[in-house]
């Protein structure tokens, strides 16, 4: 028998805030988390824009020997997970006595890898890499660190699926809970925010050129968009079977109704319409809902010319005559990449729980290809009980989630 999957806790470390209340307020106010980076300009970036992600001080929480194992993205994930566990009222005693798992999205460890190999090459000794280098420079660094720190004894898995990593992590966790293989899974996505993680991405000319006006640079669906702005941080959700949540007396925030997936099987970086559309269709089919049941779509739209256009067409194709309200929170956050699929569930839940839709920042005019969707430009009061969230990634990996209020 399939079980109902619910969300019982959330935590986030983002450029919009490091508490849910800060993030809610930033979303409502349309505050941008984007800044100009002189460091990137001086280093030779074509676009010197990035999200202003607050640094983490782990010293009060994690001892020195363990911190050696944790690169930037694991530090963000630790803080987000700490808050998520607290908000789900998951105490360590409970975790120690139950099989709690972790599935987290992460798809790069660039700075940690670079720094350790620089030392190796400089000193001609593998010991110079230091004790933490091997653990910091594996893609699964977030799950390996968090599983040990929080004593998680269930599934321990990293989802690496480019910019859909966080969404796939949630979808996989929900699937395992739905089928009864796990009762409770910590899931989310993390993204290193340093410049080394995205230098090569800047190199392929994907980033927004608007250094003189950072807060207006990320403009999903807008006619004058010219690229994405890289972001970072981490977002954690606690997924749990409904029975487990009730048994624990946990706060039940929302239900993960369905997960849709697809692959484009096409170009490595240029998305098509058919692939994303099939992800949406499968998700809707799995949910048993009609398109008119969806009150809001949090789009993947990253502010690239082709990506936004193809997604707009996919949404329009699937939703037909129903002009569902659509925004992309990336106008405020930039593209949080491996983290985005998880953080955007939290952003959307904050809107759903507080009866508003945050306006799609910097959307001023559609173009011929994005006019087919109903982009909400300004924050407005709105009550909705169900939303759909898209995440698409390089290589044509697509993931869609439908979440319902409880």
């Amino acid at each position: 028998m399939e079980r109902k999957v619910v969300i019982t806790g959330c935590g986030i470390w983002s450029c919009l805030g490091t508490t849910l209340e800060e993030v809610r307020q930033s979303l409502y106010d349309g505050r941008s988390g984007i800044q100009f980076s002189q460091e990137r300009k001086d280093a030779g970036f074509r676009s010197a824009l990035c999200a202003a992600v607050p640094p983490v001080d782990l010293k009060p929480y994690v001892n020195r020997n363990f911190r050696q194992f944790m690169p930037e993205e694991a530090q963000y994930a630790y803080m987000a997970t700490r808050d998520a566990l607290a908000s789900a009222r998951l105490e360590q005693d409970y975790i120690d006595q139950h099989e709690v798992g972790i599935i987290y999205g992460n798809d790069s460890v660039a700075e940690a890898t670079m720094r350790s190999l620089d030392k190796f090459r400089q000193f001609g000794s593998t010991a110079a890499c230091g004790s933490g280098a091997i653990f910091q420079s594996m893609n699964s660094t977030v799950t390996m660190n968090l599983a040990c720190l929080f004593h998680l004894k269930g599934i321990n898995l990293t989802a690496s699926a480019a910019c859909a990593s966080g969404s796939h992590a949630i979808g996989l966790a929900a699937l395992l809970i739905r089928t009864g293989m796990q009762d409770c899974v910590v899931c989310g996505g993390a993204q290193e925010a340093n410049m080394y993680g995205v230098a090569s991405f800047d190199g392929i000319q994907s980033f927004a050129l608007r250094d003189e006006d950072p807060t207006r640079a990320s403009r999903p669906f807008d006619r004058d968009r010219n690229g994405l702005v890289p972001g970072g941080g981490a977002a954690t959700l606690i997924l749990e079977s409904y029975e487990s949540a009730v048994r624990r007396g946990a706060p039940i925030l929302a239900e993960v109704v369905a997960w849709g997936i697809s692959g484009n099987g096409d170009h490595i970086s240029t998305p098509n319409v058919a692939g994303p559309a099939r992800s949406l269709e499968l998700c809707l089919e799995q949910s048993g809902l009609q398109v008119k049941d969806i009150g809001y779509v949090n789009a993947h739209a990253t502010s690239t010319r082709i990506g936004d256009a193809r997604e707009a067409q996919a949404i329009a194709q699937v939703f037909g005559d129903y002009r569902v309200p659509v925004t992309s929170t990336k106008g405020q956050t930039g593209h949080e990449m491996w983290m985005a699929g998880a953080s955007e569930i939290i952003y959307s839940m904050l809107m759903m729980k507080n009866d508003f839709i945050a306006g799609s920042l910097n959307f001023e005019n559609p173009d011929d290809e994005t006019a087919c969707v109903n982009v909400v430009p300004e924050t407005r009061a709105a009550h909705f009980d169900t939303f759909l969230s898209n995440s698409f990634g390089f290589g044509g990996t697509n993931s869609t989630l439908i979440i319902r209020n409880i």
Binding site: K119, F123, A128, S131
Partner: protein, 81 residues
């Protein structure tokens, strides 16, 4: 560099790297116990010596370095001229 210079500099580096107060250091105290080293982060001690003094400690020499004094001795004896 005098032995006292080495002791002062090494203690400062170890304290900063391993986040242990220098007041807990003693010449005959065990490095492993004082710095809370295990088989994995022992490599950070090796790396620190290598990067600061350009001295490579071969694995077969590690057993000779048990106390703070052993470490001062090793560095003093192997400092490049």
């Amino acid at each position: 560099m005098t032995r006292n210079d080495i002791i002062e500099q090494v203690n400062g580096l170890l304290s900063e790297e391993f986040e242990i107060e220098q007041s807990e250091f003693a010449p005959e105290a065990s490095l492993k116990e004082t710095l809370q080293l295990d088989s994995i982060n022992l490599v950070d001690l090796i790396a620190l010596v290598q990067m600061t003094y350009q001295i490579t400690i071969p694995v077969e020499d590690l057993h000779k370095i048990q106390t703070f004094n052993d470490l001062y001795d090793y560095i003093e004896q192997h400092l490049p001229a």
